[in-house]
Symmetry: C2
Subunit: 335 residues, 2 copies
Amino acid sequence: MSEPDRISSKNLTMQDIAKAAGVSPMTVSNCFRYPDRVRPKTRETVMNVAAQLGYVPNMSAGLLAAGSSQVIGAVLPSIRNSAFYRYVAGLRQAATERGHELITMIAETPEEELSAVQTLLGLRVAGIALVAGPHVADLRQLLALSGTPVVESWGGEDAIGCGVAYDVGAASRELTQHLIKQGRRRIGFVQVLGGGEQRYTMRFPGFQKVMFDAGLADNLVLTVRAADGFGSGARILNEFLSLEPRLDAILCPTDVVAAGALFECQRRGLDIPGDIAIAGWGDYDIGRQLSPTLTTITPFSFDIGAGAVKMLLEGGAERPNSLLTPYALEVREST
Amino acid sequence: MSEPDRISSKNLTMQDIAKAAGVSPMTVSNCFRYPDRVRPKTRETVMNVAAQLGYVPNMSAGLLAAGSSQVIGAVLPSIRNSAFYRYVAGLRQAATERGHELITMIAETPEEELSAVQTLLGLRVAGIALVAGPHVADLRQLLALSGTPVVESWGGEDAIGCGVAYDVGAASRELTQHLIKQGRRRIGFVQVLGGGEQRYTMRFPGFQKVMFDAGLADNLVLTVRAADGFGSGARILNEFLSLEPRLDAILCPTDVVAAGALFECQRRGLDIPGDIAIAGWGDYDIGRQLSPTLTTITPFSFDIGAGAVKMLLEGGAERPNSLLTPYALEVREST
DNA sequence: GACTAGAATTGTAGCGCTACAATTATTTGT
DNA sequence: ACAAATAATTGTAGCGCTACAATTCTAGTC
């Protein structure tokens, strides 16, 4: 108790548990790490003593000695809206199934992402799950040099380490084609800035291609920041209408932005989809509750998360280093 | 490379950096840990070599040797809705200001929470931030025995370790009084089950007291699960109306549930607040975008997070072990 | 009881870093 | 030039656990 800075005021080690249980420290270690190597009676004695004294093995020491970790680290750009909860649920389940724990860190800027990755590398996690960029210039090299398995999801073909993604381009094209098939001709496209915007900007080329092929203009483009919520939907609706009063559709980056635009239409007395069709992306919960219900793109987020962990922990030279997950176009009342 | 299970395929240590930079391993260590002890020229040489080789110090070894950690662990019940993003932002900022990193783990059940806490104890984090219970029976004792600083936020007077919270009872009473002052007499109260429901159930006594004092019935109570989203708001609205067709207000546990109830009112052609007043809780983004805008209770979530880290890292016998943060009643159009 | 094989337990050295102390190098003042 | 003080660098032992090997214990057979 003379060292208040120590990790645990009790500073229990396996030595202490061993003494109290009448066995060697190695037996204590084997009880925790290789329980099958220990006679049930002995193991029960040891574990009871440990529980009684509140002993939890020091993972750092174990990691250092064993040279391997059972912890997966994930970096997320935001938990503000519900974009990643299914992805994280997939990460968690896949990690748990494989005897690993998932820790997450929030990183809203590329610089914060680098810092988070450095922490995870320092912790010598078993693998790192990233979300699409942009990343700071040094990140790719740092991770390559580290040798830690890395998977980048939600991005495109230049993933750091392995890649897990759905075909964003196909989804974008399909959604745009849907709007055109509904008779929409003046379609606004909402871009995103900040907060790992790569996963959004990848959608624009698909929009452009379909608009070009249909002989329609693709220059009705406005930008919201990734960190913005519902209010940005209202704002861009108003801006689109001042740019093009006959606007007849908006393709939004998330269901949150779409909901905000939808609310603003209602405030302005515009009929959806009679006057303006609104499409979202991401199949957030709110989309199903709006009136009219929101058309959206559904990435299989849980599968992305589960696939990412699978690639981290089961990767090898003979395994593919990218995984394509499905998506679905959910056509509802708003288009 | 004969050991693919090693943490890093490169297995760089300070010894390697020292050789390449022409200094001792201790100097490399001092460059990272006590940069002021090293001559700038030497430090520059060492850090350049380290960056070039992609060396990140092994935090486990450092933690073991130093006996202290710069990592704070937080356990969250959910990231599904945006309940905790400001809280986490507060945690992050306060940790960063104090030279610490924040890692988070998701734990949806008390058993998962225990597992998460064990991981964090194994990592010998500098402190653990919990969210209100219910907790498994052994958690309190485990944490007390561990000696790791703990703070529990969003709960009440029986916090594990230190406590950070706002006066939930006062908020509940004030919101109920507001509804009564608006002429509401048949008020439905929505309870929550699962997902750390303690922070919700704490609100009911305040509701009961104010209703009792006003001579009104407090038995219009329905329950949603914490994991439910907007749809549960629609469901409980319908159930309340079948219980009490003259229902004139609902007090919801979150703005998400309230938004769901609001959407259902609109679908049923009920006027808000003319026919039914709807109050939420939590000041989620969506509340401000609805028409009508949603009355809600605003906890100062960021302050709770920041205060929690402050108590973890700056606690001591002479410091208080609980912190009360403010809240605000945001009266908007829905009541 | 003696022997053998397998199960269970224990011993050893080292994982990568660092607190603290010791040594060396540099700077300052006379 | 020399001495003293300060700055910078380096050495040592150990943090708590474990891979691998060695030793001890137990059960079965003759």
